[in-house]
């Protein structure tokens, strides 16, 4: 097990270095002159040069890459050319909002996806199955930005039930941070009004973010459950007169959950990437929004930084899933 874990860690490190090099290359061959953009539309050429020198953009690309990799290995993601702040500091500011959104969305996906997957399998080809299948296809097919705007217009503007965007009301003071997750911190501090406000703000973006994930979990869970419910040991259990609820909820679901767990792991990483669209529509101050606004202004260091963080979290999640699999199934450790 230790050897397996070390092997996975080495692969992760190699992947991160490869990802960093690839991102550096992509962002540097992309057209656009960040120095000119930062200097402003009316800036003279010598003003642009001032900015170029300040950020080392006047150095040869190979030298820039060497400096970048050296900084990276010492945990320095560079400085944003737009805000002039260290990228790591900015990611630290925005990441908790994204993590909170992803966790709530994932919870929704699991809590809704698994029961509906089970119901859909048990009542295969009946009305509930048809409805669930429509739901799962919609979840995969609906573009997040369109779905988000639709929900804003209906629930925020038409019904007035929920706020349009943001993480808290404008004059609401966030609780003193403990975890930097507003929902958790407000509860730990006993600030229920802030909790209510934070919850009302997170509902719509979390629904939009969770929808494709919910659909995937539902589809996989349904397919696995259908297969398991037809297996011999379930037939035997039925013949023994075990109650249908126990057969489905315990014997069948337990075995059908393994592929579902893998999907949950994969979808967690996928959700981190998807926050780019959802956070833009809902002005959710997370790393997705930070990456978009940076990309639109040719501010490449934050784009690379966010990609590395998402890549890292993605790999961590997958490694944990792999380790869990290996723990459950010893054959995988030798593979």
């Amino acid at each position: 097990m230790l050897r397996f874990t070390l092997k996975r860690a080495a692969v992760m490190l190699g992947t991160m270095i490869g990802l960093a090099a690839l991102m550096f290359l992509i962002t540097n061959i992309a057209p656009g002159d960040p120095a000119r953009l930062v200097a402003g539309p009316d800036a003279t050429n010598d003003m642009v040069e001032t900015i170029r020198r300040e950020y080392g953009l006047d150095k040869p690309l190979v030298e820039q890459f060497a400096i970048y990799m050296r900084d990276l290995l010492s945990g320095n993601l560079g400085r944003s050319i737009i805000s002039t702040r260290p990228v790591l500091q900015e990611i630290g500011r925005y990441l908790p909002a994204t993590i909170e959104l992803v966790l709530v969305a994932m919870t929704l996906g699991v809590v809704i996806g698994i029961p509906f997957g089970v119901l859909s399998a048990v009542y295969k080809d009946r009305a509930i199955d048809q409805i669930t299948r429509i739901l799962s296809i919609s979840g995969v097919a609906l573009p997040a930005f369109w779905f988000g705007i639709l929900l804003q217009l209906f629930f925020a503007v038409r019904l007035g039930w929920l706020p349009v965007s943001g993480r808290l009301p404008l004059t609401e003071v966030p609780p003193e941070p403990i975890t930097h997750l507003l929902l958790v911190d407000s509860l730990l501090r006993g600030e229920f009004e802030t909790f209510r406000a934070a919850l009302s703000h997170i509902i719509l973006p979390a629904i939009v973010l969770s929808f494709p994930c919910l659909a995937s979990i539902l589809r996989v869970n349904r397919a696995e459950m259908i297969e398991v419910l037809q297996s011999d040991y379930i037939v035997a259990a039925r013949a023994h007169g075990i109650s249908p609820l126990r057969i489905v909820g315990y014997y069948a679901l337990k075995n059908a959950m393994l592929p579902t767990l893998a999907i949950i792991g994969l979808r967690f990483g996928w959700m981190l990437g998807s926050t780019v669209l959802v956070e833009t529509v809902f002005d959710w101050p997370g790393i997705g929004l930070y990456a978009v606004s940076s990309a639109l202004t040719s501010d490449f260091k934050p784009v690379v930084g966010v990609t590395l963080v998402i890549g890292f979290l993605f790999m961590i999640t997958n490694t944990l899933v792999d380790l869990a699999y290996a723990w459950i199934d010893p054959r995988l450790r030798k593979a």
Binding site: A43, I82, V157, V164, R167, L170, L199, S200
Partner: protein, 528 residues
Amino acid sequence: MKRTIVNFATATALSLAFLAPAAAFERTDAGKVIVFGGRQAIPILDPHVRYDWSTRMIQQAVYDALVKYEGDPAVIKPWLAEKWETSADGMTWTFTLAANAKFHNGDPVDAEAVRYSFERALKLNKGVAWMLKDFLDPDSIKAVDARTVQFNLKSPYAAFLSFLPWWYVVNPKEVKANEVDGDYGQKYLIDHAAGSGPFKLKRWEPNVLYEISAVKDYWKGWPQPEANRPAGVIYRIIREPAAQKAALLRGEADIVEGLTPDDYHQFKNQKGIVVEDHPGMTTFSIKFNNQVGPTADINLRKAIAYALDYEGLVKIYNGAAKLETSPFPNAIKGYVAVPGMPRQDLAKAKEFLAKSKYPDGNLTLEYYHVAGLEEARRVGLLMLDNLAKLNIKVDIKPEQWPNMVAKGSKPETSPNMTSVYVTPISTDPDAVAYQYHPNSYGQYFAMSFYKNDEVAKKIDEARRTAKWDARAKLYAEIQKQIVADQPEVFGMLPNRRWAHRDYLKGFVFSPVRFTGEADLYPFWIDAK
């Protein structure tokens, strides 16, 4: 842990049952707070490092300058400077400061503060520096006494005063106290303000919101009675037009700036919402590459200019735009309506095409526009349709702004046609004329690489001339010659628009402000 879980479950249930709609404007203990919804963030507030519309709107709220632009037409009014005088040769400008002006920390705004601020801006060589750096050396600014500051220019520059409203004065003591490694306080002024303006900085949440609070005893006083004065303003980032619309309708924002033309049209008849719709100073033009490719041929440029349906341009803005009648916007001093400005005339277009190197058309021209700008895309479609009559195909290419600027920085890479919006920084004609000077090559507004030595000479002469009558004559000639050379399709001046709730009062339009930028100083709320 168990208690937390119970708290979580209880609070969730209660919350879902009582999710209340948001109220209009924000009520705080200090009073009413106006919410301005805008698309653009403010990464750096330092007035000598950056400016764009959103940054400058907050800079103007927390800082003061020697003079200020106000009203429509934009007029320069005394602000920190009570009065000023110019020497006969136009080389020396002397300003007398208001006696009661003070910074937020109580320090007086004196001549030394003004001198330091200009020196800082020029030495940093960022942001506003380009406006004056060719004419003003940092060591040529003198604090004559506490209330008198003198600028000794390297050569006469008639437009000098017109740029001063954007040169804000910082408190030298506060900046110096926060310097790190001789950085002129750049790190500190990213998200702190050392100003004397009507508002103080209260909250700075990058990419989310920026809150300013009103200075009760602002040295210049307030235009609105105390009872109506807002306690502050929150500038909130709302990036998507649909979200801005929703926020305004729901009362989560009191004023927004980034709606689509269709939304503004719809809101004109919406109860409780007022649309501010004013002729702006931003020009929309289609820049031809004058030096490389087919559009280097003046006859082809003229043929395209005469083939375009100009009324169609205005329709794209639902009528909220005026056609350009000169390269200069109407609000620029010295503007003249140039006779013979091209309008759609297919016979004339064909006549010019016949004289060009492409008498049968039969060519494809690329048209670049900023990705996501719907109006610019529609202009491309209009051209596609109009130029088909000349057997010219148009290849519409959306591009990200930074990439478009990079392409337009050299004649070899500048596209055949690029749609560009340009907002002059001041009302002085030099602010527009200099865009047609070869010294502007490399900048986005000069991506046509227009070259006419006579015009360049006149532009140089006009900026050195002190007497207005002589300058006006030169600028009239410059405008006519530029139109004759057709470096671009002179398009339109789209209106500037904002939508706000009807209880928001005090909106004062001034065309010299950037798109979206509003003067927050006179705002107030007429509601209980």
